[in-house]
Amino acid sequence: MIKVEQLTFAYPNGMPVLENLSFEIKSGEFVALIGQNGAGKTTLLKQFNGLLKPTGGTVRIDGIDTRNSTTGILAQKVGFLFQNPDHQIFLPTVAQEIGFGPANLGCSREEIDRRVREAAAQVGLEPYLNENPLFLSKGQRQRVAFASLLSMRPQVMVLDEPTTGQDYREGIEIMEMVKALHRQGHTVIFVTHDMELVARYAERVIVLSQGRILMDDTCRRVFYQPDVLRRTNLFPPQIPTLVQKFDCYQEDFGTPLSVEELYATITGCGGEEYVHCS
């Protein structure tokens, strides 16, 4: 779906922010992009819908070189959810806001209505369609922004810190919606600083450090190589960190990511077994 080859990017008269990146993201993957502030995560995300174009190498979306396309056209393939919904909300009703994208794509009035209803349903905003988005809560405004990208029916979802500034429940709700879309076959790429969220949702993790890829592997393998993570000032989630403290005792907990997994290993190595065999 996304093919990046020797991508290099620098802002005009600046140091390169991304240096010689090559990787591929297949259709239907769930990828987390992690790294310290300033590692180039957002800059990389913006390459995927042509907001930024490579200064060296190529980025191909579904075979299309982003340099030969525009963000407006790519928007139908790649939907981009920004960190702050207030950077885009400007219309007086939620319905109009969600319909802005399809209207720009030149859809008919009926088509726009259909898409607005569909997108609102996907994020649970149907009761609010006639409200003014400015008077909704921050979590709801983030959903309006999310619906306004879904209404353009992109295959790929790119999410830049989708849970920042929201409480735990709102954050989980957004991620659950994303997960549901992923199950329907959408490709998801998201950036976050919350490693617990990464462990819970991502299948693949790309670790970025100073514009280079430090690691690109399954979530489990990335979080069980903490020395590499530490070099970029990231800390694995609590459960992998805890398990890795036991290394010197040769304890075999496997490589759990969640409380459930570790609990099952401890009790389920069949509860008794843990007590007896140790």
Binding site: M15, N37, F82, N104
Partner: protein, 273 residues
């Protein structure tokens, strides 16, 4: 330090920013430098002949060199030069008196270049460069906050006005950055900025202007709260940095005043014309 976003870099060069150097000029009192830039402007209006204006311009260049920032000021001078050139091309055709040097369209007396025209247009070009170059030099050698202190303390401008001015400058990069984010967010929703039709072009600004307005108001509100909790505007305030108007400053200011008086006298007696 992470690289600055593109918007931030651009805005940095628009606002002539302070260049931290140690030089004779930097050490002068902000008020002296303010006097100087007003002096430059004043003189440029008093004189209208080419040689004095050229000399005045090169004195500004010399001051920039004394401040050890000639290299950084080159783009400013260059930009001004092209602007002045453009202006010159206009002017030179408008002045008909004097001995013709060149006629653009043979037989048409309207479009010709005269010796006097060249002389006057060049002088005007220099005047333009003089007027526009002294402020960048002032701002590059004096920190904005120091200027504000001087405006408030010596020239008795109310602090809140001076503060508003300095803070709006401080927030330009922030708002440029916000604008960049907004443009990108709307482009991601297939919004197009490059419409040919004037009316649609006007309306295409709304998706950018409204979020900018709303986020700016929010930012301003937050800033106001933060300022309240730090005692803004509760009474007479002090300033961390104070500058003494010392002997060099008096000397320079005295010199500036003398030259102005001299220039006025010369002008009145009509010695140059």
């Amino acid at each position: 330090m992470p690289p600055l976003p593109a918007a931030e870099e651009k805005s940095m060069s628009i606002v002539a920013n302070y260049l931290n150097r140690d030089s004779v000029i930097h050490r002068l009192h902000p008020l002296t430098k303010l006097f100087w830039s007003l002096w430059v402007m004043g003189l440029s209006f008093l004189f209208s002949d080419l040689w004095s204006l050229a000399a005045l311009f090169f004195s500004v260049v010399a001051i920039a060199a004394m401040a050890r920032m000639l290299r950084e000021m080159v783009p400013v001078f260059k930009g001004l030069f092209f602007f002045a050139l453009f202006f010159w091309a206009f002017q030179v055709l408008l002045i008909a008196e004097g001995r013709p040097l060149l006629t653009l369209i043979p037989g048409n007396p309207g479009l010709r270049i005269t010796d006097r025209g060249v002389f006057i247009a060049t002088a005007m070009g220099f005047r333009l460069m003089v007027i526009a170059s002294s402020f960048p030099v002032l701002l590059a050698t004096t920190q904005m906050k120091d200027l504000v202190v001087v405006l408030v303390e010596k020239l008795k401008i109310p602090y809140s006005y001076a503060f508003m001015f300095i803070t709006s400058l401080r927030f330009i990069p922030t708002f440029m950055n916000e604008m960049e984010q907004i443009i990108q967010a709307q482009c991601s929703r297939a919004h197009r900025l490059d419409s040919r039709n004037f009316v649609t072009r006007f309306f295409s600004i709304c998706p950018l202007a409204i979020p900018l307005l709303i986020t700016s108001v929010k930012k301003a509100e937050r800033m106001a709260i933060s300022m309240e909790t730090r005692g803004f505007g509760i009474g007479k305030r002090t300033y961390l940095h104070r500058y003494d108007f010392n002997r060099v400053d008096w000397l320079v200011s005295f010199g500036l005043v003398l030259t102005v008086i001299g220039a006025v006298m010369i002008n009145l007696t009509g010695m140059w014309n």
